[in-house]
Symmetry: D3
Subunit: 162 residues, 6 copies
């Protein structure tokens, strides 16, 4: 890979990946030469899906997309980003409450690695309401999540809650 | 009851019911033929009061109001709302931070049961600051909650923290 | 009309009516016995369309809906609401910036006529971004507004800007 | 220029360009192959500086930056973006109030030209407070704007207000 | 007056002074040795009341309060604050929309005169909704403003709109 | 100390104290005769540092500042404030998300002790992003926190995480 190729990281918990995440990934692919979907593994909360399950679901969902890779990482995002020689961090912005937290993280991350910009993208407005927490909550009570996640993820959710 | 009668659900944790909740209930009674105050029982957080205690406090507080019933439910709100043949879900809006979460839930709920509208009402501005968490926190340290909850709830809080 | 019938007013400038407004009207019709779309005529800003043109466009757009009427009014909304014996004022809420202004107006209106509640409804998320100002701006430069307003309004916008 | 080169537009009024704008431009240059700073000329408000003066100030300020061009445009941003074959629209985000308006515009722009993404970047936190309106206001009363704009712009402001 | 006495400025348009403003002034008096209510005269909008009328209404309203003075000023607030040897600028915060603008101004003002802090106070929650624009709007259509402003201001509003 | 001396409390968890907290303390010292930094000990979350460690770090950091004391307290803030005969409670405001919570607490605190005002101050914009949670998170993964906290606190963080 030439050193001019631009790599963006899209970090997140992805527990599980939603159609809103996928929409952001599709946008990112148009803007950068390579996109790595990067699963954070140091959340304080116990995830529903293991890192391997999450990785598998993202790979399945992003299957048709060129130049998308999936990885997991430990430790500080910016240490990982520097190691990967990333140009940018991608974050989805949906709502004001996202905005402040994301802003704060972006400012800290700039402090930690000034050369790597945080780039905010908007998912389609039909995904404004969507996050992984809501998907888990609806699936837990056997609600219909077919417009929120891929068929593959639907199956995984069903297995998990039965 | 004729099928044209309009039923609204007012769901919440009500741990315990506050004067702000009561203000919303009084408003809802003017707008709908029947109002069911619906206690959610699947919160991940351990409540201070049992479902029965919460039910009793709401019944006591809403005693003088016509056409108000109190129930508890399990599972997805929208499954319960469909079963009850509800026309609307009532939610109180006090602050911007309420707003985004409520919005998100309303959009998901519309997805799950499109015919049932979420209707937002505002409690009186003197209850802007009020929520059950703050009531519990103040009562825990024996602070004065007489302008936040009914006398009956005050007594229950005192018993709980002694 | 019996005195138990519930009337809601949906006030606004409607310059012009958008698909987002229509979505709110459709929701309101399910909740109330009658809905009056009420055009405010005392805006400080010069509107693009005259009151009669706006009235005509709303009537055309809400043609298939039962129990919807269109009127214009002058002076304070709450004086008009009291005169019409309204039970509620309907407002659409799309975003945090809407929220604070609407809240402030609702609190003042409650002060002016305590018995009439302001009821907030959410348009479909596909109309989150939509308001009359943006429609006028896009139409002015001959952009495509077909997913924002009815065909009838599209024609009126074209005539206005040619 | 090969068709794979990625062009981003950075539209705005730039009346005048501030150090916050410059910070965004420097970030954008790292992300895209070419950046066009695009002056909008159809604002309803009368600007302090003419389009030519604004263009000159931006050219002076972005002088040392490779691959940055300055242009002005009329009509809809997305018509101009399509004509230029742009990959992305750049917008700076500083505060929640920015956020909602920018979000709304990004959603409308996506509707008008789906293939062109809006990319949000954050200026350095030391420019959080900064916008052109405040610069004009401070300069008008002969306040010190040396930490807000370049020396060249300071001189232009002084000439304008004397 | 000894040089240790602490002076706070409370700047604003006060067109007219409301009960919310008065509530902030009463709070400020407890915190500082002297408070100057400072009428800004360089608003771009044409005020309803002249500077003298506004000054007279504030003096009448703050009559019983010790250590409160009323003045008007031209030019930059911070130049005026430095000249008066002020320790602090007082601003009332009621809502999120206030917050961002006020924050921005506070940051710019700190840049212009670092030693003078902006101090934010909250009016009573019963004034959350209240501002001068709403008072003028309600009074213009002969609505009841008796819970928003003093009797003296009510009379002035009546004279102005007849 | 004369009874006219004005005392402000600056309550918080300070787990650990950051440069943003220090900036607020420095501002507060200019406004009040005495400032007590007051460590709350009834947080539901387990802190990283003990009350004594936090007290020691604050004393070290505020060493050069006149009239600053450090204490810890249990129970309701307002009971403690009344006991200390405080004139004001100091809170730092950085972002909209701070704002709503702080507002709510300030309204409740006013209810509990009406004579004691909550005074909001802004830390320098370079600390906009900064809070103790982020400091702990970055330090945990051995990231560089030298621009966030004092050298003394850096050492304590290092000991804690090794």
């Amino acid at each position: 890979m030439s050193k001019n190729k631009k790599l963006a990281l899209y970090p997140g918990t992805f527990d599980p990946i939603t159609n809103g995440h996928l929409d952001v990934i599709q946008r990112a692919v148009n803007l950068f030469d390579r996109v790595i979907v990067a699963i954070t593994t140091n959340s304080s909360k116990a995830p529903l899906f293991s890192v391997n399950e999450r990785l598998e679901m993202i790979e399945n969902a992003s299957n048709g997309l060129d130049n998308v890779e999936v990885e997991s990482f430990q430790g500080l995002l910016m240490d990982y980003a520097v190691k990967k020689n990333a140009t940018a961090i991608i974050r989805g912005l949906r709502a004001v409450s996202d905005f402040e937290y994301e802003f704060q993280m972006a400012l800290v991350n700039r402090k930690l690695a000034n050369g790597i910009a945080t780039v905010f993208l908007m998912p389609h407005e039909k995904y404004t309401y969507l996050n992984s927490t809501i998907v888990r909550e609806v699936a837990k009570f056997d609600g219909d999540v077919s417009s929120f996640v891929t068929e593959y993820v639907q199956d995984k959710l069903k297995s998990k809650f039965n």
